[in-house]
């Protein structure tokens, strides 16, 4: 069975464009989230949001929204493909594994707003080239010369983590020589107001596992990762193990007793042939919502007798939903390549949860790193990446 390595990456988040800029921004400490504007039915509502740094603002007309999305995707996907050094012929055989929760719904929202202004009887999702979720991936393939199969994963906050899992499996099975995984999420009013309706939004910075946690801040991000059978250099990261489980406890939260979280973590360890003590550090999902943190902390405590160093990246990036699986992985790996575990300062321990986040950047050796993701619809995913020989 062939190996499968991370050979090219592109990243654009609220911290900046490219991994170097993302890491540099981390050193400046927390800033307050910016405000994004949701336009609907003649109203405008401002919501805290970690929007893409150095990108055109959202909220323009449909052509502007599409152009913004294309620009973000062209940068990240183009960077990843270029870094991987794929020839046009190799690109043509590459598979596209897209993970997103909202696809290009921001463009559809703008179109519908425009149509309603012209015709009050306009209908949603009308007059598009094809009202299909899969249209988004076809557009990406066409713009980047990718003619391999495309798969659009829509499993809420685990979408791009699941996309990576399956891309890795397809390369290891020998069906593909290369795969490109894309995780993208941009601002849209439905998501912002939907989370507000669920009363999950924090008015300020996220504090996962903190006794005063009060919810999440949404974020925009786009990341791309090329997988190939040959490592680009010694110490290249690879997916060592993974697991996904459907948690039927609730549509919107993992079982708070931690049983389903601990099970998916154990399955990931099993697939990587590792014991809990072999995990060098762990990136938690860490949404700072009451229920997620409770379930996640309970699950981790059930598996780890001695908790490895734990970090959470959503306080920096915002919760980027279907994209978080990939952008958090790339940011984590970029810091780990520099020998650092990213810190989350200012988190006060909640003794009921018993999870203390790493407070500042700390030295990190090579090893095995666990990254966990939990989504609506009872979708739980645990990834283990490694950079050891």
């Amino acid at each position: 069975m062939p190996g499968c390595y991370f050979i090219g990456a592109g990243l654009h988040t609220a911290l900046g464009r490219g991994t170097a800029e993302n890491l540099a921004t981390l050193q400046g400490g927390f800033t307050a989230p910016s405000m994004a504007l949701a336009h609907y039915a003649g109203r405008t509502q401002a919501l805290p949001y970690r929007t893409l740094r150095d990108a055109a603002p959202s909220g323009s007309d449909s052509a502007g929204e599409l152009s913004r999305l294309d620009a973000v995707l062209d940068y990240t996907l183009g960077t990843a493909l270029e870094q991987a050094g794929l020839t046009p012929a190799e690109r043509a055989r590459t598979g596209l594994f897209l993970g997103t929760s909202a696809f290009d719904i921001g463009v559809s929202e703008a179109e519908y707003r425009e149509q309603l202004q012209a015709h009050p009887t306009a209908i949603p999702l009308d007059r598009q080239p094809s009202a299909s979720l899969g249209q988004f991936a076809l557009r990406m393939r066409s713009r980047h010369g990718i003619r391999g199969p495309d798969f659009s994963f829509n499993t809420a906050c685990t979408a791009s983590a699941n996309a990576l899992m399956h891309a890795d499996a397809m390369v290891r099975s020998g069906r593909l020589a290369h795969a490109v995984v894309v995780g993208v999420e941009t601002f849209n009013a439905i998501t912002a107001l939907g989370f507000q309706g669920l009363q999950l939004l924090s008015p300020d910075n996220m504090k996962p596992f903190d006794r005063n946690r009060n919810g999440l801040v949404l974020g925009e991000a786009c990341a791309a990762l090329v997988l190939g059978t040959q490592p680009r250099r010694a110490g290249s990261f690879f997916l060592r193990g993974s697991a996904n489980l459907c948690d039927t406890h609730s549509m919107s939260a993992a079982n708070p007793d931690g049983s389903t979280v601990s099970l998916v973590i154990r399955r990931a360890l099993q697939s990587a042939s590792l014991a809990p003590r072999d995990i060098t550090a762990l990136k938690a999902h860490g949404t700072a919502s009451l229920l997620n943190d409770e379930a996640e902390a309970a699950g981790m405590r059930q598996v780890f007798d001695i908790m490895p160093p734990v970090c959470a990246l959503k306080p920096w990036l915002g919760h980027t939903l279907g994209a978080c699986g990939l952008n958090e992985l790339l940011l984590f790996c970029a810091a780990a390549e520099q020998g650092l575990l990213i810190g989350t300062p200012g988190i006060a321990l909640d003794s009921d949860l018993g999870v203390q986040l790493n407070q500042g950047p700390t030295p990190l050796p090579t090893g095995n790193f666990m990254l966990n993701f939990f989504g609506f619809g009872g979708n739980n995913t645990s990834l283990i990446v490694a950079n050891a020989a």
Binding site: S130, A131, P149, H166, L193, T248, S252, G378
Partner: protein
């Protein structure tokens, strides 16, 4: 590598106006009156439930689910409520906009405790999810998998036809097609075998692969996917050396993911040992091939 097919479950509904109320079918199939779900999830429960009824699907079965267009009904409702009426998305409607909501209801109703995934592909929905599931079963990552696709209509039907670019009198349908696949087991009666699911970036690579499959025109039929142009289908069938045509599309109204019906209907009607090569295409002239045997 391949996977055995242990059961299939289907729900194909030519669309009437108003469309058939699916609640009784959900209750009849699952034994439960599942409340506060739309047609998309109802169709998933009916198709998957019929598949699970046909054989004892064990709890460690994964759910691999796909759609060509996704849950239009929920998305349209949320968009109209917000942008036309100025109302915030209702929590349940908002949560149900995630397509894997259907996986949750299928797993919960059938008491499954394994993996679940939702994948969308505009033209090759069933083929894509079957390929992913096959890789999972082959590697042992999934003990077995319930693999299905659903596409549903939204009301009013005239608006649905506009959205999917169909003329006003075009016949519509809804479909939910499911297979339960897994590794070979002596203790399970089987319907057939998925021998291969592959995707190709051009016709030449598809034909090169077909040439390696040693297909016998005497026992292998050809079926054309709904997005494969009729002339292309005839050309490919001829070049593959196949003469029998398996027609699963006659009288079928429009919906996006029909390929699962080809497999299920072939396995239900073909003689033992017979094979089916199903070929479909996408707008970029890329191709998919599914090879199954009865």
């Amino acid at each position: 590598m391949s996977a055995q097919v242990y059961a299939s479950g289907e729900c194909h509904l030519p669309t009437t106006d108003p469309p058939l109320d699916l609640k009784p079918l959900v209750k009849e199939t699952t034994g439960e009156a599942v409340r506060r779900i739309g047609r998309f999830i109802q169709l998933a429960l009916i198709g998957a439930g019929r598949c699970a009824k046909a054989a004892a699907v064990p709890p460690d079965t994964a759910v691999y689910f796909a759609s060509g267009r996704g849950d239009f009904e929920t998305t349209v409702e949320v968009m109209a409520t917000l942008f036309r009426d100025g109302g915030a998305p209702k929590p349940l409607s908002f949560v149900n906009t995630v397509s894997n909501a259907a996986c949750y209801y299928v797993a919960r109703t059938l008491k499954l405790q394994s993996r679940s995934n939702f994948v969308c592909n505009r033209n090759l929905a069933f083929e894509s999810v079957l390929q992913l599931a096959l890789v999972e079963v082959e590697s042992g990552a999934a003990a077995s998998a319930l693999v299905g696709s659903v596409d549903a209509v939204t009301m009013p039907l005239a608006e649905h036809r506009r959205r999917v670019h169909l003329p006003a009198d075009a016949p519509l349908a809804e479909g939910s097609h499911w297979l339960w696949i897994g590794p070979a087991r002596d203790d399970r009666p089987r319907l057939g075998e998925v021998l291969a699911v592959e995707q190709f970036s051009d016709a030449a690579s598809l034909l090169a692969w077909i040439a390696t499959q040693q297909l016998d025109a005497g026992n292998c039929a050809f079926s054309a996917g709904q997005f494969l142009d009729a002339d292309a289908a005839q050309g490919l069938r001829t070049q593959a050396g196949l003469t029998q045509v398996f027609d699963y599309r006659a009288g079928r109204g429009h919906y996006s993911s029909q390929s699962g019906a080809a497999i299920a209907e072939f396995l239900a009607s073909a003689p033992p040992g017979a094979r089916l090569l199903h070929v479909n295409a996408d707008p970029a002239d890329c191709f998919s091939a599914m090879l199954v045997s009865r």
